[in-house]
Amino acid sequence: MEDKEKRPIPVMELKGVTKEYCLRDSFFSRGSTCVIAMNNVNLAIQKGEIFGLVGQSGSGKTTTGRLMVKLENPSKGVIKLNGEPLSNIQGKALKSYRSKVQMIFQDPYQSLNPHLSISETILEPLIVNKIGDAHSREQKVINTLDIVGLAPAREYYNRYPHQLSGGQRQRVAIARAIVLDPEFIVADEPTSMLDATIAIQLFKLLKQIRKKYNMAFLFITHNLAAAKYLCDRIAVIHNGVIVETGSTNVVIRYPQHPYTKKLIETHPGFNF
């Protein structure tokens, strides 16, 4: 308990979070079958930290991310942002929460509206949160495009998603996530649809952004190598339960849990 007082308040904290998806058996029967996606998950992510959540598909890692950005609500447990619990926040409180917690989605081909230009896509968070006026918003979008490496920004400003490559689209998605200067970003397998060289570029970009703004990231991945490259600490999740948490090097070098060991074995050429 002493330990807790010494540490700063985490940006994002999950306490005993459980998420169940229930389906009614049939129209007439009362019973229902529930799938537990997350079972009593505890996580604390510190400011400026890149925290990896590693697990195979169906392990509940995406659900964790969706709960953090409030696309879904937990069945049990508390989510805290900067130490403040949010249970059923609505209206203004929800909006200010939204501006502090953003998300980068997995598939850059699906996460951009094909009918909106790049500038319209990145402007949207600024417009709905009523930040600045038309001129300052435009400036902000151009700055953000520069930061994510879409330069010269003017050239990309009026383009449409179908004119960009997958890597460029994902940079646009990153720009949309950071344009509000959030404190915490959930990156849900942002590179799983892209090839390795582009993935490395994006990892470097995420590191740069972290350094520049001191944002915290939850990096969701099934790729241990990516987690090792990018993350300060990782948690391994299996069937909705966090089986191991710790600093990345320690977990990968000295895995304690049998599942973690198995996961590391399945990565051939993963030598230390």
Partner: protein, 298 residues
């Protein structure tokens, strides 16, 4: 630049559209009818005698066949049939397009709300749509007309529109359901966008092409309903329409004596509805995603 984008996309679509034989025929027919509708504004200016409603040839007391003075002949009180036919084209466009437009707007908005909101709202709106969908619109119109007397043309337009939105809203709803779970909608929610903004900014542009496609089919049905209503004698008596012309030829007893009077309006109704139908089918091909993909790869 974004303007160029739209133009480019439109040109691409137009190319597919005009290559389609149905599209070609439909557009040609439609252009002819448009010219007729435009001509209807000028014909009475030539000579008041040619006014489709009030212009009576003083020399003619009974229905006469085609002549140099009257290309299609006259009706039984000496009104010019050619002028009436042009006027009928104008009315058909007004009725068809405006009622299709109203029903598309209603259908799209209700469909998007129903699909996006889900739950109770969805159930209530869709059951309402079901109820209206199974009602026979012509019979309802006939009952209303016999209860309240003859309707103004705009009331007829509006009632047809009200009867015809449910099919559109069902289509738009199902499209909305598939869009709703797409990541770009969720991304917008994470950014803090309101539901109204998501519906109109993100969902609407994606369902509009489909709505326009359905608009062409709605035009067809609106024209047919109006024609049937007029022929049965429940149309707007102060307006010349093709259905009205058929009603007059029937009522005045010239049905089988004056083919020059009976055939043109009937033919026009068939051809105009056919042209909208063909337009819709050709547009269907443009909007078919499989075909569009093929076009993009080239």
């Amino acid at each position: 630049m974004s303007q160029n984008q739209h133009i480019e996309r439109f040109q691409k679509g137009w190319k597919i559209f005009i290559k389609n034989p149905l599209g070609k025929t439909g557009v040609t027919l439609l252009l002819i009818f448009m010219l007729m509708a435009i001509a209807s504004f000028f014909i009475p200016l030539i000579d008041p005698m040619y006014d489709p409603m009030t212009g009576i040839d003083p020399l003619i007391k009974t229905s006469t066949g085609p002549s140099m003075q009257h290309f299609l002949g006259t009706d039984n009180v000496g009104r010019d049939l050619f002028a009436q036919l042009m006027e009928g084209a104008k009315i058909a466009f007004i009725v068809g397009l405006s009622s299709a437009f109203i029903s598309i707007v209603m259908g799209t908005v209700i469909g998007m709300i129903s699909g996006y909101a889900g739950g109770m709202t969805d159930i209530i709106l869709m059951r309402m749509a079901d109820i209206i969908m199974i009602m026979p619109s012509l019979v309802i119109l006939l009952i209303l007309a016999s209860l309240f007397g003859q309707f103004n043309i705009w009331i007829i337009v509006f009632i047809i529109a009200i009867m015809r939105w449910p099919a559109v809203s069902r289509i738009i709803r199902s499209q909305t359901l598939s869009l709703k779970s797409r990541p770009f909608i969720e991304a917008s929610r994470v950014a803090g966008a309101s539901n109204i903004r998501i519906i109109f900014r993100h969902i609407m542009p994606n369902v509009l092409p489909l709505a326009f496609l359905y608009m062409t089919f709605r035009v067809t049905s609106a024209i047919l309903v109006e024609a049937a209503l007029s022929f049965l004698g429940f149309g707007d008596p102060s307006q010349v329409s093709w259905g009205m012309m058929l009603q007059w030829v029937w009522k005045s007893g010239y049905m089988f004596q004056a083919p020059y009077w009976m055939i043109p309006p009937g033919l026009c109704i068939s051809l105009l509805t056919l042209s909208f139908y063909m337009l819709g089918r050709a547009m269907d091909e443009v909007l078919d995603p499989r075909l569009r993909k093929e076009e993009e790869e080239r």
